[in-house]
């Protein structure tokens, strides 16, 4: 339960961090909050040659509204977003999701960008980013590019990030008037990995439903306004499209039932 030896670097700014990342090659890992990575290192499931610690980089530690989005830098902890006064007005979906994200002690240190980069299929922050149609800003020595959440998550722990890129910023769209949001989660115990988590965004002209914990990545579906019966049928189709599998936590059938039930519950909650 101790990590394999590695070289450690603590850059002073983001430019140094991406330069180090480019030089160190594919064996290097960015260490931000470390709340997933350190566990993986302790279990020796990963044995990187270099750790680049960005947890103290001042120009990556920010949370601020910017052009209709809440921009969150790579060193900003989940706690710094969660305890932000006014989060419920800025990004109501995040305010609802935070209590489900692991535990207080983990959120105190874990980062938002780290969770996005890790892309666990049951994680809440990627799910919310997808539901809201947010963006991921990737930075390498060559420059920056912005990727839509839809294109960023590609599979189990797989993203559009290239090995020399740092997830520099994540952008959650701010609440819009007329839109309603709801988050629901089912897990074995509070704070455990979600067996199923859903985020609903209800617009006057349609519904967007995102589901996590069932497929190999968070998935989202949009519908125009449907009758109650048609919506139930649509959610059922979505539940089957997710390709749920049996595992030692739950059966595929149970997961589909969770999608049907919680999808409906979240949409009703958002509408009420």
């Amino acid at each position: 339960m101790k990590p394999q030896a590695f070289d450690y670097a603590r850059p002073d700014n983001a430019a140094e961090a991406v330069a180090l990342l480019a030089d160190a090659g594919e064996d290097a890992r960015i260490l931000a909050g470390g709340q997933s990575l350190m566990a993986v290192l302790n279990l020796r499931l990963a044995q990187p040659s270099v750790l680049i610690d960005i947890s103290r980089v001042p120009d990556l530690d920010y949370v601020r509204p910017d052009a209709g989005m809440l921009a969150i830098g790579a060193a900003a902890t989940q706690g710094s977003v969660e305890w932000r006064a006014g989060l419920a007005a800025e990004v109501p979906l995040l305010a609802q999701a935070f209590p489900h994200i692991s535990h207080f002690q983990i959120r105190n240190r874990g980062t938002v960008c780290g969770s996005i980069a890790h892309a666990d299929p049951s994680a809440e922050l990627p799910l919310c980013l997808l539901a809201l149609g947010g963006q991921v800003v990737l930075r390498s020595r060559a420059g920056r590019r912005t990727v839509a959440a839809d294109d960023f998550f590609q599979g189990m722990l797989m993203t559009a990030r290239r090995p020399d890129e740092l997830v520099e910023e994540v952008r959650y769209p701010l609440a819009e008037p007329g839109l309603r949001y709801a988050f629901e989660e089912f897990a074995g115990r509070h704070g455990d990995f979600a067996l199923c988590a859903v985020a609903a965004v209800v617009r006057p002209d349609g519904i967007r439903l995102a589901v996590g914990g069932v497929s190999d990545r968070p998935r989202v579906k949009s519908w125009a306004c449907l009758s109650r019966t048609d919506l139930d049928a649509a959610i059922n189709d979505f539940a089957w499209e997710l390709g749920a599998r049996d595992d030692h936590h739950a059966s595929a059938k149970f997961r589909r039932q969770l999608v049907r039930h919680m999808g409906r519950t979240a949409i009703d909650k958002a509408m009420s």
Binding site: D7, L31, G34, Q35, D53, F104, I106, G191
Partner: protein, 204 residues
């Protein structure tokens, strides 16, 4: 930029419970091991070493976090508070325990005590930020800690009682007051008299 090569033994300095301390470690040394083996602060316990049990929780610059998911080199220059320093600022009671520790003892909120140091450090941070939590919020905060002997009821009671006492309300506001010998031990008779006076005013 700071860099440490693998297997290099380096000296790092931090502030432990208000005192400047230093010790040697490698880049891969966990903060939990550094505190215990290098600085001798064995009040912080190590359970699972992969972030599940919460026993190793300390406050880093005031914020409760797991030391098994942190490197010693990351704590360089930071202020670390462990259970050994919990009564530093507010020692009271016969054994110099903090009010939170007293509440744990009073409510039998520990049995073997292995998980307790971590729970105390989490609770200290949480109550500092959220002085008036609901029981549900306290349970959510405690969900990051595993206790396998006492169960959580008395831990919740102790944390709630501390919160209530710090707000200057009578201990009777918590369920603990329903048990003989519990009411008023910590906050003193004065508060109870005050509460009685208030209730008289209300009834009048």
């Amino acid at each position: 930029m700071k860099t440490y090569q693998k297997n290099d033994v380096v000296r790092i300095e931090l502030v432990l419970n208000g005192q400047r301390r230093s010790g040697t470690c490698e880049s891969r040394t966990l903060l939990s091991d550094f505190l215990r083996h290098e600085l001798g602060a064995t009040g912080t316990h190590v359970g699972c070493e992969h972030g599940v049990c919460g026993a190793c929780t300390v406050r880093v610059d005031g914020v409760a976090s797991r030391t098994c998911l942190s490197l010693a080199v990351q704590a360089e220059g930071r202020s670390i508070e462990t259970v050994e320093g919990l009564n530093r600022e507010q020692a009271r009671g016969q054994e110099g325990l903090s009010d939170l520790q007293e509440a744990f003892r009073r409510n039998h909120a520990l049995q073997c005590g292995f998980c307790t140091a971590g729970i105390l450090m989490s609770s200290a941070d949480y109550l500092a930020r959220k002085p008036d939590p609901s029981e549900q919020e306290v349970r959510e905060m405690l969900s990051g800690h595993l206790c396998r002997c006492t169960g959580y009821t008395n831990i919740v009671k102790a944390v709630m009682e501390t919160a209530v006492a710090r707000l200057g309300r009578p201990v009777g506001a918590t369920p603990a007051a329903d048990q003989p010998g519990h009411a008023g031990v910590e906050v003193g008779i004065g508060v109870e008299v005050e509460a009685a006076a208030q209730s008289k005013l209300v009834s009048a």
